[in-house]
Each structure stands twice: as structure tokens, then as C-alpha cells.
């Protein structure tokens, strides 16, 4: 049984993206607390990550359980409806710093590997 090349490429892309969702989400919380829909729009818009609603809330709750984020119901002044805002904790900040270090190191090494392999040809 063979899988169509397009589908294989999509699968690979999905796998690659899956590993960075936590990091991207924590990164979005660096400057200020945000609510679920806001995070989702940035992860998918700017980040191009294809995260679904069904994934982001359980993920936020897991990060909350692990102590990386804390949640609070808050009402914005111009909006009478409260929303649940997630903020980065100190431990979340440390986690994020570690994730970013690993990400940059891996990215640089793989970039080098690809460049070197191409130049050697």
C-alpha cells in the first residue's frame, strides 16, 4: 500500500508542527495574558500551525496543571462579557526559555546539515 506523495508531505508537515505548538503558545503569552480564541487565531494565522479548538483548550488545561500557565476570568472594560485569560508563570517562562534554546540549536544544526550536504554535492 502506498500513500500519495501529497498526503505524505501533509503528514510530515503536521508532525513537525505538532511538536512546536506548546512552545508557540507559551511564546504568545510572554507579553500579556490572552484568551483561547485569541491564541488560536495567532497560532493559526501568524504561526500557520493548524491548531483546532478541540486541541487548544485541553492543551491550555494541561499547561495549567503543569504550572506553566495560570488562568483567570477577566472582564475587559469595553466588553461586558468575561473571558478566561491565560498568563505565563515563572516556571512557564523557564520552560519556554529551554524550549526556545533547543529549538534554535536544532534549527541551526539542521540548517547547517542541509547546507553542507548541498554544497558537498
Amino acid at each position: 500500500m502506498t500513500v500519495e506523495p501529497d498526503k505524505r508531505s501533509d503528514n510530515r508537515k503536521a508532525q513537525l508542527k505538532k511538536g512546536v505548538v506548546d512552545m508557540a503558545l507559551l511564546a504568545l503569552l510572554q507579553k500579556r495574558p490572552r484568551y483561547g480564541l485569541e491564541l488560536l487565531e495567532d497560532l493559526n494565522g501568524e504561526g500557520g500551525l493548524d491548531v483546532a479548538e478541540g486541541t487548544i483548550y485541553p492543551l491550555l488545561h494541561r499547561l495549567e496543571a503543569a504550572g506553566d500557565v495560570e488562568a483567570r476570568w477577566q472582564t475587559e472594560t469595553e466588553n461586558r462579557r468575561p473571558r478566561k485569560y491565560y498568563a505565563l508563570t515563572e516556571s512557564g517562562r523557564e520552560q519556554l526559555a529551554g524550549m526556545v534554546r533547543n529549538w534554535i540549536e536544532t534549527r541551526d544544526r539542521i540548517d547547517n546539515l542541509i547546507r553542507k550536504a548541498r554544497d558537498d554535492e
Binding site: 483546532a52 485541553p58 494541561r62
Partner: protein, 184 residues
Amino acid sequence: MSEALPADVQTYIRKVRMALNALPETVRDDLIRELHSHLIDRLESGASASEAIAPFGSPEQYASSLYNAQQLSGALVSRRMSELIDALIRNLTSSISATIAGLLIFCIWVMTGVLCVVAIAKAAAPQHVGLWQSPTEFFIGVIDEPASATELLGFWIFPIAIIATIFAWLLTRMLALWGLQSAS
């Protein structure tokens, strides 16, 4: 507030709520309130009812993901053994660390179980049960001819079984916490 919502959305929320029945009411209310708030935002920004609901998956599916995440939170906060094991079992297939922790815990308890069963049997038939060494064999269990081998543990098997059980219990807690923390 919910009167303003389309019937499909109300039904969806109700089904998720029903599927979360096993959770404490305050936790369930909070989850539903967040879902509700998200759906209203989507509807207000022009999404249709089905466009707003579809990305959550079926109500049962979504409730199950929420439930698993909650079990994990509850277990990590309370650190109660029953909750830890329950959360670990639910996350066995979704994280490699949980799978490894689960397998190790299983092996530890198989070995501890064997030791305890042998200890109980030793109490019933002290002459025939123990850790045996003969020129050809080395095993733990029941022997027909006690004279053909040497028993190594004697009644030490009782304290050893008790210590092994305590040790297995502590190790299980450590492994479950590790598996769940890495999964979250």
C-alpha cells in the same frame, strides 16, 4: 445568555456538559463557561453555528479530551495514587513517557506480586516453598523434593516481600508522576 444561541450550539454545549458528568460541578461549570464564551465570540464575529462547533469535534470527543486533561490536572495536584494511576492509564497511548512509566509499573508489580504469592504460600507450606538453588536450577516457588535443593531465603521472605511492596508502591508513585508530568 443561552437564549441568544442557535439551537445547534445549545445542543452541543448540553451534550458536552452531560459527557463531563463525572467531574466536580465547579470544574465542569468552568469548562462549559469557557466553551460558551468561545462559541459566542465566534458567532459574534460572523461564523455560522456549524462553523463554530465543527473545530471542536463531536461533543463526546471534545468532552473526552477535556476530561483527560482534567484527570491529569487533578492527579498532579492531589498526587493520590488512585488518581495518578487512572490518569496514567488514560494517557498511556497519547504520550511516550506515560507508556514507558506504565510498562515499568506493570513489570514492577508482576515481580512484587510473584514474591508476595510465594510468601503467602511459604506460610502455608514452609517446607516446600522458597527461593531454591540446586546444581541445575535456581528458582522461586514450590518444590516437590525439598531435599534436592537448598532454600536460600527461609523466613526472610516475609520482611523482603513487605519491603518490596513498599518499594514498589513508592516507585509506582514516582514513575506515574514522571510519566504524567512529561505528558502534560
